[in-house]
């Protein structure tokens, strides 16, 4: 199963694709979509949208995972983040992908095993888990982390379903 993780932002949108092969987790690609600071918001959203559409076409992921946001620094940054997040979610549903949202606590627990892990620990574990040559760009690393989180949850859900089916 191919999972696309996205860390949306109006300035930088990170993405990461991981593939779950049995119990193994394989890194496919990661990167970041940069928007031009001189561009209007609508144009920036188009850059994000088109970048993500390209990635959809290239890698054909089967699920989309993004971090669920509860607290934003302030209303203005929340509004901006919402625009980018809206664009990312739209690309997912427009490509008929199931969209999964995970809290930062769930992502950190899945990647590091500790819900309050520091950013650096998460980045380091993403590198180790996916056998990356070096730590990925910040936003791409966050995107990979949420993809890993979904891979783990999906695996767990599968196992639960099988166990329940056996009991029936």
């Amino acid at each position: 199963m191919r999972i696309l993780g996205i860390d949306p932002g109006t300035r930088v949108t990170g993405y990461g694709i991981v593939e779950k092969r049995g119990n193994r987790l394989v890194h496919v690609d990661n990167g970041a979509i940069y928007t031009r600071s001189s561009d209007e918001l609508a144009t920036r959203l188009k850059t994000i949208h088109d970048g993500l559409c390209r990635i959809m076409g290239e890698y054909a992921p089967e699920a989309l995972a993004v971090e669920q946001i509860f607290i934003a620094k302030n209303a203005m940054s929340a509004l901006k983040l919402g625009h980018a997040r809206g664009a990312a979610l739209l690309v997912g549903v427009n490509h008929d992908l199931p969209v999964f949202e995970y809290t930062a606590l769930q992502v950190k627990s899945a990647v590091v095993g500790y819900g309050k892990a520091a950013k650096e620990q998460v980045q380091q574990m993403v590198k180790v888990l996916l056998n990356l040559p070096e730590i990925a760009q910040e936003d791409a690393s966050d995107a990979l982390a949420v993809a890993i989180c979904h891979a783990h949850s999906a695996g767990l859900n599968n196992r639960l379903e099988k166990a329940l089916n056996r009991k029936r």
Copy 2:
């Protein structure tokens, strides 16, 4: 010139289409896109996106106008609003429409002639200016107001340009 005004929201997205014929402003249509409260955010965004795409197809507007937001009640409502606004702006740029943003002050000044006018005054003036049989649904009325605002600004810009050209 056909102008589509949008008042985005994750629950209700208002839209209004006005046509500027010379100095006259003609009402074309208005309405609201409702999302299901039981739906996930991504599905709601798709409802908004698809609804707006249908309107684009039906009315072929030449410009998109939305209200510019400076202050939101709180970070969570700003984040939600951002998602819906992102979807609306994306539909605009994806249909190659120029996107214009106006502050509430600009919209109220254009419609009522007073930047601090009450919501009810704006709704009443929208009804009068567009010769509507009754006051439009709240969000649709806001969408019509920002479309009217753009019609006025566009007219002003045109006249300015012509005046400048005559001087050259």
